[in-house]
Symmetry: D3
Subunit: 285 residues, 6 copies
């Protein structure tokens, strides 16, 4: 069973709305290699695990738990990027010759303003809905670990590419945090395969990202976030049997299971009358 | 952030494998009105909530937390129904004129034996993958509550129909538990709409299921599970501002927020060499 | 605007339930080349028509109108094949060792018993949902006519193949009627291309079906249904400028626009308490 | 069977082409909560209806008939918004350094210019094709009515949001008419549930739209279009047993079944040689 | 079995990057009527062919072989249009207030920069993935030929429409070559139906494109590319039994099977460090 | 450009029809990890390759070429399993009380008899169409190689699981050949990663299949097919720079690039009048 504290795993840094950034950030939420995929893939692999070597199951499940918090973080980041983006600034904007959203939606995913009230959706950067066929849970441990490894590597890859698409601070801070965490999860799966006999040489991290290009990453690396796994279990776990000792990455350091970060506030979004959200203004309750 | 204890929300009752039952039970996991949908829909609605009346957000989020445990329960139930279903009983079964799975897959979802190692998948009873376009999170509170209400009602409806498709005890126990819990969640959303001024008369429960037709439900009703909401929050929640007082159902009783059930063991599945799962027999670790 | 009389275009012939037949007949309703496709394709082509040669638009629209009635006919046929198929005959069937639907769903589309209350769905014979990408409305008249021609030819082809899958009379009568009507619509589009200069030689009908293999077709051919187009317009139409004169088929005869068939009763389906349908038994209204 | 008069249910108001508006208006045609969905959902529910309380079936079917005309209206509106949008104004536009569509398609759905000849498509505002899995026809009357109610409420919600995306008159007039009609259909399903015992208090209309924000709506409200249902039946119907008496909306008034609106001309679209539509210029016929 | 020489079937003409052109050109690669569809459709029809009249199978297979080269050509054209489009020109572009891709992706398919490293994808112009349900291989020869004919006609139609969307030379040259080749394949299927008795009159080519509007086409027509079929077989083929004699097109000329074009270089794409492609800079190999 | 000789890469071993086997074998053709995926994935990776280390591109392209032949082999195998499966043996089978296909389709994919004339389709074992979103071509070489490695490993895994589903010889021979070839391709990608510094230890082959359980594999292993790559290039290739030296598999041996196998006849399928295939019996040609 699953328990919750209303705290985000990383802060939402304030900046201006940026609907074009929100559109591309959807890839990280609902894309083929996004956080919904990692969350569901590790969930299915955890529940479908076979055999007694449950240290692997506990590793996968431990990362699954963090991925739920990642989904929550990206939802909130997208919401912040959209929030207020479609509001009219001037009086009379809904007059005959101008509409408050006409410019806004040109470079946005229009569904952000039609289906949602300027809020996140389970779709990718091109507007395609999340699809269950993407989940890989084949029951062969090596297959599952290799697929998880490539999934986390692609996570870093795509996030570093999306990072280039806006200099918005809300956007980049979340991406930077997730790049470093994906790196940690890459280390986790690479280490698990090391216990099965693989020596990775200097292959990882993949991609070989230069921390100087992503300055927001630096503080997370300095906190050691690329080499730790947060423990969200309220009971015992064997995760430390795998996630310990020397990192498989050429960047060095030792792996360690640690407490989750202090939590950060979940932003409360204002009412948005133009979107009829929540739309209960005149109710008596 | 999300925390976890390795305990199921309800026991897995032992019985024989039943792959045809596993096939139809997939609807409850990955179908249009299944637990993955409720989980993701309430997740998005929680994160996308607007305005200060956070008692509604806390209600939706509280149910979301339970839905994660429902997904876990259905995954484990499907696994139990599949587990061992494709194993050969007789010597020489993989000989020239017989294959151990030939009869098994005739009435099964073949993907249970190809993609998974006799394990659950994010698909529905017809084998279609789960689809993100099904999630409804429109930001209008009344719209969201009404849609959640019909979603939980359809949950009971489909589960009572699927119940007729096998008398397997593993299958029926999980269905019976979920029928009663969907009834509770139906009460939750109906009650929320009551606070906005609706009087439901004698409309609920929908469908108007007769507890005598689903004998496994009785003990859950006697425990009052149709009128309680389990609280998975580790911090404060305003859920009780809505989920309290008289039930909106004609079956009567008072609503109450309570502690989650005692946990039940997550079954450990045996190795399955024919499916190469986990397939690490000869590794040295 | 569209008007309606509650009458089917052809009778529903009574026979036993046959859920396996209902499963494959779904292809004719929600498949890539089924009646929903023809209905929507001709609807879009009618509305999107360009230019003054509206005799072509009126031809396409005229067939569109009939296709709505075909959708209704196939929905009702599937319902008849499903109706009662999952009802228990013996007392105590929902007891511990037997479930009323366990055998029924083995060769059925389980969604017929889960999503619908033993009723038709917008899906194909493999359970895939109808998809808008199948509609062809490209605005080039020759392209549209050729595509409509192949669509109607495939209609006959698939119906004659499905005909072999059950000897159920309800099933075969509807298929036989639609085979002959698809033949008429094939003639319509072939004739339209004749007016643009094509001489088809002896190519049609495609496929070259032998009426003796589909004895139910005979009466419809004797009625001349392969060479007429029913007129559902309440105002003027130019359809006769194309649909007249010698048939383009080697089977001969003259094309004519005629009144629709006398209508046939739309069956009223009984309540089905096991499926909670309609499920209002205890309501006071 | 279905009959037709070539008349639109509401006029197409002339204005300039606006391909960005056409793109977002596709949501109302082929989106999850668009007119194709309402049309098909009410069609399936009508044909799949069980039991003797056919006043409900006649209500659903009556609204289905109007939805076909809504699909036709939205197709024609999109066509008007696209028509001529991609034509070159200047001589020599297809020369070496400029192409007539290069600017046009930047903010358009490119499929409007590739698949269709500047014409409507069965897709949503993000370009995803219409999907049959969206149709809800579960056979439980209360479930179906609740789902129809939320579907019509979402119709108003999305249309009022899309209204903000362009001040084009063609676009806004169609949206305004449909907002008021969706309101009427919301009243229809809310009233049907009233007959089953629900008292809605002051919940409806959902969303609680302010008519002053959508000035084009006013005349339709003054005509009473929010409280009437047009009758497209050529035979008897029991719809009036439900759709009569006091409206369930707090805006007040009495419900009444009335004749359809006088019809309005279906625009005839000009040839578009650049799109090869219809492309029969040199044919002899 | 299939053999390969690293040569393109037509040259890639150099010009500036044009990501908006790349986006729409995806239709020709991964769209409903694109080259992946023709390739796979003719592949399935070839392998599934029934009967002894293998001259038809050899015709279909011969065109299939060319379509593989068309897919390769369009992939390379898209790559050329994307290559370098997202590179920063100015120093310090990844600084705090500007990102190198922010303007670039506004009118692009963002997946070109997220999933691929500025490279082609199996999707259409609206970003929808290629779908196997589009393939038509029904086994009825006339049906298959008619469908292939309309497929090739739509190929010309869509390419001529896309041609208007950019004056980029890389883009237009590939489109022009493919327009003429689709015309040849249209002739092939029209001729095959002629051998079965059809006389097309002056119907083809469809659409009736004016070569003066697509000046890049002229040289290919002068080379006779609209009336030849390239032979990629290393063994015997009966294709010439159909593809010979007078063209079915009103443009005249004789059909002939000829050697493939001389090959053209496959461009080698530079490393793209910003996209981490290939991302092996620091490896020792 | 691509050239062809009409020869299969492995023989089709004769046996009885087996439509249930054909249904599950579709996974190997059109499934998420089937031959269409490997073919298209390696095609896109080859064309989208960046940088000068073209030995990797030539390796990927070399395997792509073989995958086209694999697709052809599986299409022909499925056809053989279906061929004649639906034919009636007894006289009068299409009489009033029996249909020749009624039993046949119960455990088959009905589309094999409706869409195709008892022939292969681009779908998976559950009937879902092939989907372009499955293709991984991300442009990061390590990412691509790791994904290809897991793709080939999953190929062996799924084929060994499907092998258990029928003892039909046609079915098993093709699976056995492909298991050994997937093993070779697994070796290829594992070796490529070795050149980038990885030491796999004893991890491969994945899964660790026991050749004694798949006796048909033995002869292919004895031919060394698990350690060779067939060369389908008509020009130079750098593939041998990677595919040479010691295998990365613990089963040992040296890798070598060799000539393709001698070709085997492509079966000619008989006419099937009941399916109207090819359906030209009465034509004069």
């Amino acid at each position: 069973m699953f328990y919750y504290k209303e705290e985000l795993i990383n802060p939402i840094v304030p900046d201006q709305p940026d609907p074009a950034a929100a559109r591309v950030l959807q890839e990280i939420l609902g894309g083929h290699y996004g956080e919904m995929r990692t969350m569901m893939q590790f969930f299915f692999q955890s529940s479908n695990f076979r055999g007694k070597d449950t240290q692997f199951r506990d590793l996968i499940r431990g990362i699954f738990l963090e991925e739920i918090a990642h989904v929550e973080l990206v939802q909130n980041t997208i919401n912040q990027l959209l929030n207020g983006s479609g509001e009219s600034n001037a009086p009379g904007d809904s007059g005959a010759d101008h509409a408050p959203l006409d410019e806004t939606v040109l470079h946005a995913n229009p569904h952000h303003y039609i289906i949602g009230a300027q809020a996140s959706l389970p779709v990718d950067a091109a507007g395609n809905p999340w699809n269950g066929s993407w989940v890989y849970s084949h029951g062969n441990l090596i297959g599952d670990l290799l697929d998880n490894l490539i999934l986390e590597s692609t996570g870093v890859l795509q996030k570093s590419r999306i990072y280039e698409m806006s200099s918005n601070k809300t956007f980049r801070e979340t991406l930077a945090f997730l790049i470093v965490r994906d790196n940690a999860h890459q280390n986790a799966y690479a280490k698990a395969l090391e216990t099965l006999g693989v020596n990775w040489g200097k292959l990882f991290p993949v991609p070989n990202y230069d921390i100087n290009k992503y300055p927001e990453c630096r503080k997370y690396v300095e906190l050691g976030y690329h080499n730790v796994q947060f423990n969200f279990r309220l009971d015992q776990t064997r995760i430390g049997e795998i996630f310990s000792g020397q990192t498989p990455s050429r960047n060095g350091g030792d792996l360690a299971v640690v407490e989750p970060p202090q939590g950060f506030p979940v932003p409360l979004m204002p009412e948005m009358p133009n979107e009829h959200s929540p739309g209960t203004k005149d109710m008596n309750f």
